[in-house]
């Protein structure tokens, strides 16, 4: 750190001279003058009559609704199967923002980037507007009549019926599906996840005789050893994990203890980038390291281990890795019952060995719980093998009807051709998907399911936690919940709401004693959005060691030679189901900073060897597939592997999502009963080159202590600042600003920030930040108000990563203010650097003069022409026009809202009452906002933390944002 260089990009790219500020248009001088004539005429014509606007009040105004005031409803996010608690902000009948529900026991007020982007999906005008027969619009009556007729025929003939869904977290929905299927002689519910984690359940079936995933408790852990598991990123309930992880690593409030995180991985994952110690290993070495760790922990514990593990001596592991693993084994034994070992593999052999180490370390029952009350039959989780079997059955023409909800196998099944030909043999295919995606396009009937903000539902994200999902807007289109369709086709014409209530009454109401009547219980659960069962007995099942020996034996015999392809999920695109969402497409990957694309990450070493440069298109091929994809050079990536993100290359994902990137699902293998996401490939260089739309090539901040980092040992001994801070007292040519009652300020704890980018999307939704598209990102004109800087440390092989969210710093001596010729950016009496859009004439001097490069310019009138999409706009924030500069203003609309509320009530603003959009749902609570004029405020106290520092302090801009230095829990020699 002292004098250590932080670096940001791999190679300085030559500035592309071809890039022009404006697209060239063929416009002669004569045409130009003519056009001016037209516009003058139209201006005069339009000014003949004052623009008439209508005010349309209600006929009967609902009691709870006041025009102009937001209502908040507790609900559940339906973005993925984690089912985080969300509060939905509804302004004048329109849901416009999702925020974390602080009372939700799992997500605890956090939300991920995807959740924030879900508002866009609600107002997506490409959603299906009515049921379809084939591809023709139809009516519900027509569809129901035809489908019931066909289903009745199947009932008589005894044909096989399958419901194919992704994970269904709703217990009531699972019951409805089961009820529907019970009408048929052979009806089954198949759960298919394109990116599966079935191996964790399968391994527990082998080692604990229960096919459940453990519930992890990172907060209790002192040590986390992860073998390629991306638990903070795309794997599992990342918000919950991140929340607990950050709590266990919190060093604010005098805490001097923090969880230590060690990661062994081949690609650079978001989780690995946050590790205290990260070991770059090949996929084969990852397995070897795991087996060696199992052996050493067993030895240190003096426990019996299967022979295959006892005798394990990996020839491939180098001395450095062996030493590290030995040390980690020691740490695990030291922290018995306080560690967590995880793996990202979907191979049940690997997971069985992980279970063995967790068992030896005494973690079951302490940091991870196997809750066998959530019985495998009821949990709605089935293995990948069932999907493969289903395709086989379809191929043989055995399936009479297939009903698909929230699954898109035609896009994401590994053997697409086989699946497509198999589907052709199914006489009745019904899709409940909300878009005409790849699978729905082949369906005979489409019965679109509404968006989760338009419908009732429940969710059981963890055995004790039941979350409720309530509609916050009437369905925009002619959609119907799939549950109601299934009920109707089971002969029950009932609203899903009634079934849901009945189910809660029968099953959940008895699980509590607090409320005497069901109505009270229901109202309270609906108000809170969540119900936590009081009594659930958990039994820790016994460990069966035999299977571990078999697993280890199988793993030892595996020997991957050559180059491996690792398939992973990006935190924005995940498995590809939200590919039509441009907010997610434009969200920069936290590590590579690439938008609108997937790419093959290649280590600098391999790139040198094969003479690849960034953007060079390579061909990756093996027996099952062959693709061409651009290269991204990723420090910290292992030399014998290439990693490519899944979820791209959709062909039917609407205007925004189709033909973005390359589909790599064909490389998925089905082996050992599960889908495997690594496979051997050949790599070839092609002559093509593509430019990747990255947001990171601006500003390389050479060698200065931009992100300060210290080791825990140094921190405890008080050696915090060595050589990093600026010592001389700078003098200012400006007079100090006089401040009034408030001075708003922010602190960002870099030790908590994990780079998840939730703040970025929360800000986008709150502040009407436009999407600019791939071309404009290439011109470096992305509009996100928060830039999440990522710096690498160390060398190409031992690479550490630090993150730094950068938004407008609201400087006291703001360099932007002094250069604005029209006073469009001025200082407020509360310390804010105001941006007055209606004054701005777009000279862009301010952006040029900003030291932190946080200003964004509207180069174009970004389209607000879709009336449905415009419903997502926040009415409290001006939609900026072309030629206007914009930037973060600490969510000034929220400050003003609370100020007005407090003054109307005749009181002072309370500390923590104002929460900025980025702060509110930060899963790790890394952002703090408050009033520096209040001596007791949280932010004021944090500004006096020893780790507090100011970015580019020597410039004497006196910004209102400061950072708390990152702390790495690593022995000093590693740092």
């Amino acid at each position: 750190m002292n004098g250590e260089k932080l670096w940001k990009i791999i190679q300085h790219q030559d500035a592309d001279d071809n890039r022009r500020e404006m697209p060239r248009a063929a416009l002669s001088r004569r045409t130009f003058i003519e056009l001016i004539g037209f516009s003058a005429a139209s201006l005069i014509l339009s000014s003949c009559r004052p623009p008439q606007q209508k005010i349309i009040p209600f006929v009967h105004q609902p009691v709870e609704m006041t025009p102009g005031l937001a209502n908040w409803y507790a609900s559940t996010c339906g973005g993925c199967s984690s089912a985080c608690g969300a509060l939905v902000k509804v302004r004048d009948g329109r849901p416009i923002k999702l925020e974390g529900n602080p009372e939700h026991p799992l997500s605890n007020g956090g939300l991920c980037a995807i959740a924030h982007a879900m508002v866009f999906n609600l107002y997506d005008s490409e959603r299906l507007r009515q049921p379809l027969v084939g591809s023709k619009p139809s009516t519900w009556n027509e569809v129901d009549a035809q489908i019931t007729g066909k289903l009745d025929a199947i009932k008589k003939s005894g044909g096989k019926v399958r419901v194919l869904t992704s994970t269904i977290v709703s217990p009531t929905s699972r019951e409805i599906i089961a009820r529907f299927l019970s009408q048929f002689a052979d009806g089954r519910h198949i759960i298919y996840e394109a990116v599966s984690n079935a191996a964790i359940r399968q391994s527990h079936l082998r080692t604990h005789k229960t096919a459940t995933s453990p519930v992890y408790n990172f907060e209790k852990a002192k040590l986390v050893i992860s073998f390629g598991a991306d638990f903070l990123g795309a794997q599992g309930s990342s918000v919950q994990s991140a929340k607990e992880y950050a709590r266990a690593r919190n060093l604010r409030d005098e805490s001097r203890e923090m969880l230590r995180h060690v990661q062994f991985e081949s690609r650079m994952s978001l989780t690995g980038s946050n590790a205290d110690a990260r070991y770059r290993v090949s996929p084969q070495e990852e397995i070897d390291a795991l087996l060696l760790l199992a052996r050493l922990v067993a030895e240190k514990k003096g426990s019996a281990a299967p022979a295959a593990i006892q005798s394990f001596d990996p020839p491939r592991l180098g001395a450095r890795l062996r030493e590290a693993i030995a040390a980690i084994a020691g740490e695990i034994v030291k922290h018995t019952g306080k560690s967590i070992i995880l793996s990202g593999s979907n191979d049940s052999d690997v997971q069985a060995v992980v279970n063995f180490i967790n068992h030896l370390a005494g973690n079951y029952g302490n940091t991870l719980h196997l809750d066998i009350t959530s019985s495998p039959e009821g949990s709605g989780q089935s293995g990948d093998a069932e999907m493969v079997r289903l395709v086989e059955e379809m191929k043989q023409g055995q399936i009479a009807a297939l009903l698909i909800f929230s699954a898109n196998p035609v896009y994401d099944y590994f053997n697409r051709d086989e699946l497509t030909s198999a589907l052709a043999r199914v006489p009745l295919k019904i899709s409940f998907n909300s878009h005409t995606d790849e699978t729905t396009a082949l369906a005979d009937f489409t019965c679109p399911h509404p968006h989760f903000l338009e419908t009732w539902d429940d969710a059981q994200p963890s055995p004790r936690v039941f979350s409720l999902n309530q509609p916050t807007i009437a369905p925009l289109f002619e959609t119907r919940p799939y549950q109601e369709s299934l009920l109707l086709w089971s002969g029950e014409r009932r609203a899903y709401y009634d079934v849901l209530r009945d189910n809660w009454k029968a099953r959940l109401f008895p699980l509590q004693k607090k409320w005497a009547t069901f109505d009270e219980f229901w109202d309270q659960s609906l108000h809170d959005g969540v119900f936590v069962a009081e009594t659930v007995t958990t039994v820790e099942p016994a460990f069966i060691v035999d299977e571990v020996g078999r697993a280890a034996e199988a793993l030892k015999s595996r020997n991957a030679e050559g180059l491996s392809l690792i398939l992973y999920e990006k935190i924005s695109m995940r498995d590809g189901r939200h590919a039509s969402n441009p907010w997610l497409q434009e969200m920069p990957d936290p590590i590579t900073k690439v938008t609108w694309d997937n790419y093959a990450t290649v280590s600098p070493g391999l790139a040198r060897e094969l003479q690849l440069e960034e953007g060079r298109v390579i061909r990756l091929s093996n027996a099952s597939a062959s693709i061409e994809i651009p290269v991204f050079i990723q420090p910290g990536q292992d030399d014998s592997s290439v990693a490519v993100a899944l979820g791209y290359g959709r062909t039917k994902a609407g205007r925004g999502g189709s033909a973005v990137g390359v589909n790599v699902y064909p490389f998925v293998r089905f082996e050992n009963g599960t889908f495997q996401y690594t496979s051997g490939v050949r790599i070839e260089k092609t002559a093509n080159k593509i430019e990747l739309a990255m947001t990171q090539r601006h500003a390389t901040l050479d060698g200065r202590p931009i992100v300060r980092e210290i080791t825990l040992a140094d921190y405890i001994e008080g050696r915090i600042d060595e050589g990093q801070s600026h010592t001389s007292e700078p003098r200012s040519i400006w007079k100090d600003h006089p401040y009034g009652d408030h001075k708003w300020a922010m602190v960002v704890d870099l030790n908590s920030c994990i780079g998840c980018s939730a703040c970025l999307l929360s800000c986008q939704a709150e502040n009407n930040v436009p999407v600019v598209g791939r071309e404009e990102v290439l011109r470096q004109r992305e509009m996100h108000w928060i830039r999440l800087d990522r710096y690498y440390k160390g060398d190409d092989e031992n690479t550490a990563v630090v993150y730094q969210p950068v938004m407008c710093f609201q400087c006291d001596n703001a360099s932007c203010e002094s250069v604005c010729p029209v006073l469009a950016t001025v200082h407020s009496s509360e310390g804010l650097n105001m941006q007055v859009y209606n004054r701005c004439v777009g000279t862009r001097y301010c952006a040029n003069n900003c030291a932190y490069k946080v200003r964004r310019f509207n180069w174009f009138e970004y389209p607000h022409t879709d009336p449905t999409a415009n419903l997502a706009l926040n009415p409290d924030v001006t939609v900026r026009t072309r030629g206007v500069m914009e930037k973060c203003t600490f969510c000034i609309q929220r400050i003003e809202e609370v100020k007005i509320l407090a003054r109307n009530e005749g009181r002072e603003i309370r500390d923590k009452e104002i929460q900025t959009a980025c702060q509110q749902s930060c899963p790790t609570q890394a952002i703090f906002f408050g009033d520096m004029a209040d001596a007791e405020s949280r932010v004021n106290k944090l500004k006096h933390d020893e780790r507090d520092y100011i970015l580019l302090e020597e410039l004497n801009l006196r910004p209102q944002i400061s950072y708390l230095a990152k702390v790495r829990n690593s022995p000093r020699e590693e740092a």
Binding site: I55, F58, E896
Partner: protein
């Protein structure tokens, strides 16, 4: 219409427009709607309701002390009284019709601030400002018209002079420019209205 005709027509319009606009009497600033008095779908008289019958402004514009917008009453609010009073009037029957059809009445907006300016009614009403301060003598208007230009100057002149608010004996805010009492300061920061 071919391009040439379009050019000639637009030239003519531009020239006529320029001549008309150049005359001082008809010239007005862009966006100036002072005196704007549109025809409304229902001939509602503020003079009769707020003036003669002394119905409080907040009875109909009920969110003015709670929300950013004052609110136009729902049709059902009219019928609170008119289900008994003047049931036979043609105008009232329009409201009754609206309710029975469940079709809202489309009022024409009189006061319309630009989209980049945010005005919060509740703060001003709670601070003790009279509605008439900005909206003029509404209680005398048969048909509502825009009394003030409602340019930024109007807002700022008030915000500059009425920096602080004192409370009278009954605890209600009293507009004054003396800087003695409670902090309810009107700010002149741009971001108070422009965000």
């Amino acid at each position: 219409m071919n391009l040439k005709t379009a050019k000639i027509i637009s030239l003519l319009i531009t020239m006529t427009g320029a001549i008309v606009l150049y005359q001082g009497a008809t010239f007005s600033w862009l966006g100036d709607q002072q005196g704007y008095e549109p025809q409304q779908p229902i001939a509602f008289s503020h003079k009769l309701h707020a003036g003669d019958n002394q119905i409080a402004c907040l009875y109909c514009h009920s969110s003015a002390d709670k929300s950013r917008v004052a609110g136009i009453p729902a049709a059902s609010v009219c019928m609170n009284c008119h289900s008994q009073i003047k049931k036979d009037s043609v105008e009232i029957q329009k409201i009754a019709q609206s309710i029975s059809d469940n079709r809202p009445i489309e009022w024409v907006r009189v006061h319309d601030l630009p989209d980049h300016a945010v005005f919060n009614h509740s703060r001003h009403v709670t601070a003790g400002l009279k509605c008439q301060q900005c909206h003029g003598p509404v209680e005398t208007m048969e048909r509502v018209y825009q009394f003030d230009s409602q340019f930024m100057g109007t807002c700022v002149s008030c915000h500059r002079t009425h920096r602080e608010v004192t409370l009278d004996e009954s605890g209600k805010p009293l507009i004054t420019s003396e800087s003695t009492a409670k902090k309810l300061m009107a700010s002149t920061d741009c971001s108070v209205c422009h965000h």
